[in-house]
């Protein structure tokens, strides 16, 4: 027994640390095998020779630890389909954070919907068939629907987004969103953000708190759109400046506290009612720790957009497919050389 203990001590105190050091040295710029294919691992990239078992998503899952990052591999290698035997480079960090190239820069459209109808579209509501056709168009034409968190990482120049990225949002918390739009979003596996104004919840045509909770539980993003949906940028008639200030402070602060209390949700983003804002509102948002806020200016967003004036395009019920497509600009031409 003493002899065995001595050997163990020799291994752990002397040889084991040496082996660890050797292995650590081999971790950089080394060759490995995966799925019977050869891969070269470096600090910045991995090169793999693909097999028929691989997909962009499976490679991303294995090497980037995120199956949703398949697009990063596809876009770096400027490929749309993976051919077995093809040699691919897997970048280990974003390779184009701002989406810049010699011809211009990436922009991300943010769509905003309000009310829905099971029947045909009308002026105030988007019809079920039209919404289905719009989502189908996004899916079939290679758009990546991304979350607002990812959009903000792009705007903060921290993360890269797929070239054809888009964000989907819903304002006001109409019950029809839950009944009509939600099943279609789930069908296409699209993430979305729901901006709610809390006084509306539980009203006649609004979602209930239970429905909001369900949305959150199944992974949708719930964010704030004030308490009463007042125009934050304009004082009401006969409202003193002090009253106006108290009012907008409450509009910004109250729903944040309420969402935390009722659903344990951190409200980080705000959609301005009527899309309107001003310096005072933005100062208050920053004071209350909001990360960004959204207008309804019909434009797409480059990474250098003002975070508290992010553009969104309202999709109305009266829009045909051509008008819908006009809101999907993912690149702004501007010769950058």
């Amino acid at each position: 027994m003493p002899e065995t203990a001595s050997i163990r001590k020799t291994i752990f105190m002397g040889i084991f640390p040496l082996m660890l050091l050797l292995l650590a040295g081999c971790a950089i710029n080394g060759w490995i095998f995966h799925n019977s294919h050869k891969a070269l691992i470096s600090d910045d990239f991995i090169i793999v020779k693909t097999t028929d078992q691989d997909t962009f998503s499976s490679l991303a899952a294995y090497y980037l630890k995120d199956p949703d990052k398949g697009w990063l591999i596809a876009e770096f290698n400027r490929m749309t389909t993976l051919i077995p035997g093809e040699e691919l480079i897997i970048p280990l960090s974003p390779f184009n954070k701002g989406g810049l190239n010699a011809k211009g820069y990436q922009t991300v459209p943010v769509l905003v919907y309000h009310n829905f109808s099971k029947k045909k579209s009308d002026k105030t509501a988007v019809g079920q068939d039209d919404f289905e056709a719009q989502m189908k168009y996004l899916k079939q034409n290679g758009f990546h629907v991304v979350s607002i968190d990812h959009l903000l990482d792009f705007i903060d120049y921290k993360g890269q987004l797929p070239e054809k990225s888009i964000v989907i949002t819903f304002d006001d918390a109409w019950r029809s969103i839950f009944d009509v739009a939600l099943p279609i979003l789930i069908k296409y596996n699209f993430p979305a953000t729901f901006f709610i104004y809390t006084d509306f919840i539980g009203g006649g045509k609004a979602m209930t708190w239970k429905q909001i909770e369900t949305l959150s539980k199944i992974g949708f993003d719930i964010q704030c759109q004030t308490r009463t949906h007042r125009n934050l940028a304009v004082p009401k008639k006969n409202e003193s400046f002090k009253e106006y200030f108290k009012s907008i402070e409450m509009e910004i602060g109250y729903p944040k506290k309420l969402l935390k209390k009722r659903l344990n949700i951190d409200c980080k983003y705000l959609a301005y009612p009527y899309g309107e804002t001003n310096n005072l509102v933005i100062s208050l948002l920053k004071k209350y720790g909001y990360r960004a806020a959204f207008t309804i200016d019909r434009k797409s967003n480059p990474f250098f957009i003002d975070k508290y004036r992010i553009h969104r395009s309202v999709i109305y019920g009266s829009y045909d497919m051509d008008k819908f497509k006009n809101n999907l600009t993912v690149f702004q031409k501007n010769e950058l050389k």
């Binding site: 040889i15 070269l40 990239f45 040699e87 002090k242 310096n279 250098f304 501007n334 050389k337």
Partner: protein, 438 residues
């Protein structure tokens, strides 16, 4: 027992050192090693694991001005071939190029920023960032300085009070509560001198009511009808400060700028007209056409200056166009013809040095410029030859001093003229001998 375990461990250690356990021996590669010849033969230049493949791709990216990707591929080649000093050199050269380019465009951006040309500045900062995605200063300008702030920083001074500051910024001491609120102060505490306070900027006429706005809109429309465009702009900007997305106000403001632009163009103030048109929202009907038409006017003016042989002025106009639109082919052509024509004129006037100085400023790849440059060089050669022959004539007439002067002129024009050098030497030696004989 103990000895045998230690021996086994030693073997294991050695095997790790020399790659015995590496499963990739079948590929003939271990660690940093470059694939062996056999694998090169089968995979050739297409091999992802062969440096030459990546070097080739890096070169393509350099040619396409995608320098970051070129650098990425060079780094791959360097990993595959770590001992190749040529690749290391290429990486270092490319890094230097990237650095120089990004610095150049950042500097241009700062210049535009200081001139308050925000759009032009943004473009230069974006180019700087495209070349060097880690250019922190370019990013700071894009993300902070080019975005209007909703507050100002104010340094509290010895004789200040919060009410005084409120009065100074808001023309209302009662709004002191805003300063207290946004700086987490207590209403009865006084900040220390030097303390920086954040003061929210309130839009002018913050309390302007919707009725007032409507009244202002009506006034602005009337003023537009009376061609009082500057006043329209003042009123609409006031409305937009409170209500930035007011479409009617935006349209009226754009109408006014458009009309001012047209007026400036008719007064041949083309660049001022272009700057005015650029203040209009890009979606405004006809604004792009108006800018294009104005550029056409500038080009026409440039062509007329060219006809009048005012080359420097025509080049100056074309360069101004290019500073706004670097790909404008007509402006590039105007510059090229101007340099060429100027060089040709100076050639005809036998001002060879001046001609070469002008041609040196032109694009060396320009065919016309090269042709004229060749013409100048030939003319210099011919003139050198004429002086040489004149020198020979003097020599035959035994006018040695004059002959030397001519050959010296030859050498001034063509320092490589060996015969002239030799003849000068001979003539001087003859002169020496003649002196001695006398």
């Amino acid at each position: 027992m103990k000895k045998s375990i230690i021996v086994i461990l030693m073997i294991l250690m050695l095997s790790l050192f020399f790659g015995w356990t590496d499963p990739l021996d079948s590929f003939g590669n271990v660690g940093h090693k470059v694939p062996e010849k056999t694998s090169e033969k089968t995979q050739g230049e297409k091999s992802a694991f062969h440096p030459s493949y990546y070097l080739k791709r890096a070169k393509t990216y350099v040619n396409n001005d995608e320098l970051q990707l070129a650098l990425f591929f060079l780094k791959i080649a360097a990993v595959l071939s770590p001992d190749d000093m040529e690749i290391v050199g290429k990486i270092s050269d490319l890094k230097l190029t990237i650095d120089n380019k990004s610095k150049k465009y950042f500097k241009k951006g700062k210049k535009f920023y200081n001139q308050n040309k925000i759009k032009a500045a943004r473009k230069q900062f974006l180019i700087a960032l495209r070349y060097n995605p880690d250019h922190k200063d370019a990013l700071t300008y894009l993300k902070n300085k080019l975005i209007p702030k909703e507050y100002v920083n104010y340094t509290f001074e010895k004789n200040d009070s919060l009410k005084l500051i409120s009065d100074k910024f808001y023309k209302d001491p009662e709004l002191v509560f805003l300063i207290v609120y946004f700086n987490n102060l207590k209403s009865d505490t006084k900040p220390k001198p030097g303390e920086i306070l954040r003061i929210p900027i309130l839009e002018s006429d913050f309390n302007q009511s919707i009725d007032d706005r409507r009244q202002d809109m009506i006034s602005a429309k009337n003023l537009l009808g009376k061609n009082r465009f500057q006043e329209v702009i003042v009123i609409t900007q006031k409305i937009l400060a409170n209500d930035p997305s007011n479409k009617d106000a935006i349209k009226l403001k754009d109408d006014a700028f458009y009309q001012i632009g047209i007026q400036l163009r008719s007064q041949e103030k083309y660049f001022e007209a272009i700057d005015t048109f650029k203040k209009i929202t890009p979606e405004y009907d006809g604004v792009n056409g108006a800018i294009q038409l104005t550029v056409q006017h500038v080009l026409l003016k440039g062509e007329n200056l060219l006809k009048e042989k005012k080359y420097e002025e025509s080049i100056d106009l074309a360069e101004k166009i290019l500073s706004d639109d670097p790909s404008n082919a007509a402006a590039k052509k105007l510059i090229s013809i101007s340099f060429c024509q100027h060089g040709k004129d100076l050639l005809i006037q036998k001002k060879y040095d001046d001609a070469l100085k002008v041609l040196d400023k032109a694009d060396p790849a320009d065919g016309c410029v090269e042709k004229i440059r060749l013409g100048v060089k030939n003319a210099i050669k011919q003139q050198a030859e004429a002086h040489y022959i004149q020198g020979v004539k003097y020599f035959l007439n035994e006018e040695l001093q004059n002959a030397i002067k001519e050959w010296e002129k030859t050498l001034k024009l063509n320092p490589e003229h060996d015969k002239a050098k030799k003849n000068i030497q001979n003539a001087r030696s003859l002169l020496e001998k003649l002196k001695k004989v006398k």
